[in-house]
Subunit: 145 residues, 4 copies
């Protein structure tokens, strides 16, 4: 995707300012209105007993990719809050870099819908996700950036 430099800069600033996002080592690779690519290098402490990346890390990454895609598609003053997140786990995620591409499916006046795909370094599809967001002018909600 061809990135929009203003959106890319804005999302990178948000990620840098959020302790949770920055702490994950999240990188915003590409961004334009309604579509965002993120990646992170999974850390040893994100693995389970079998040495695989925990599904919660992938769920978090998918939520971020979709949330930032919604963010990039709405006006400055508005807020987005995840109200519903669904993830399908297709394959075990071995340690290494994982990337998520999130995109909006529809952005309405009150509600936005998005989807995401997560792939490993070899572009194997690890997980797919869908999300529903309330888009509002007010503050609040668990995932508002």
């Amino acid at each position: 995707m061809e990135s929009d430099p203003r959106i890319l800069r804005d999302l990178r600033a948000r990620v840098a300012a959020s302790p949770f996002h920055a702490g994950l080592g999240l990188r915003v690779d590409e961004a334009r209105a309604g579509a965002v690519s993120l990646s992170l290098e999974t850390a040893p402490e994100q693995r389970n007993l079998q040495g695989l990346v925990h599904g919660g890390v992938l769920a978090t990454l998918a939520d971020m990719a979709m949330g930032l895609a919604v963010r990039s598609a709405i006006e400055e003053g508005r807020r987005h809050v995840t109200i519903e997140l669904g993830v399908h786990y297709l394959r075990p995620a071995r340690p290494g870099r994982v990337s998520a591409r999130g995109e909006t499916v529809r952005v309405g006046s009150q509600v936005a819908f998005a989807r995401a795909e997560i792939v490993d370094a070899g572009q194997r599809l690890l997980a797919t996700a869908t999300g529903t967001f309330v888009v509002t002018r007010e503050l609040g909600g668990p995932d508002a950036q």
Copy 2:
């Protein structure tokens, strides 16, 4: 719930042995066959820009509560792998202790279904979740404990 001491001990040992689970500060509070209560004290680095607990942390906690509930309901040698996770975010999660109760809805020969509820220290319901698991004798999968 009245805990089964053997199951409680087994799940605590698993959590202690998994870098991801232990790193979250996850505590297994109660456990019996098919039902598990977990909690964690959310850390500053799990918060977003508004100081709220990120939805990914709650998704992770819900997945763990459901996965361990399935774990507690199947025989020793079998494996469980999350194939589908759905979370509804009902209220913003303010910093502090959050608890999840996971329980199995049905454990079949190939597939198990579970649900979870997450509450804050004041017992306010923050999120609900559902999960689908493949139950197998083979190794593998993103969330197998």
Copy 3:
């Protein structure tokens, strides 16, 4: 559950007035603010090649039970619209009477969450469901009653 006669009467009138609801043979068995029990006798034309009730019929029934539960919990002039529906199919549904109990999980100013369980005549759990609804004063949406 103990029904609220006014709510029961209101929902029965709505079901009778809707071609789709009435055509299914839907019966409102119980209703109070935030909880509704529905049932229907599955017809031969609702079965698939193996003679089992099609999952789409159960999804429809779950959506109706949750939608009417939301309906019973909001004021007269407001509308509810399903924006998200999730169903887990636990067991095959053999022909006969199926019942759904829907209840609200949280009704907010913009969004409502609900869940439902579907059982057969022997009270075996066939399916569970969750739903997200936009609650508005305006007309519209695919499932508004």
Copy 4:
């Protein structure tokens, strides 16, 4: 999509043989291994009080499109059963022809994943869906064709 004549013929025969599928007026428009396009003309009795197509009809159509896509991707003797269905309703569905395109996302040895999109006659996206299926050699389950 370019159809595979053998698969198209097989799916049309299945739809014709199933009382539920045939009763809906379901038409198989295109089909190849892993992808299926269906459509139906919504009937007056599929509408709710506002004259919109009920969300249950769209959920049913999405389940069928995904189920037949899985069917077209597995060997003759195997069975598929829907275990999880998720639908997002993006826009109200006005009366008229609706089409669903279902496709497999991953078909494993035990589990298959699929997604679907539903559009109206003007190609407006009305709903998106995801599904999880158990794929087995044994008979049974609510949606096995």
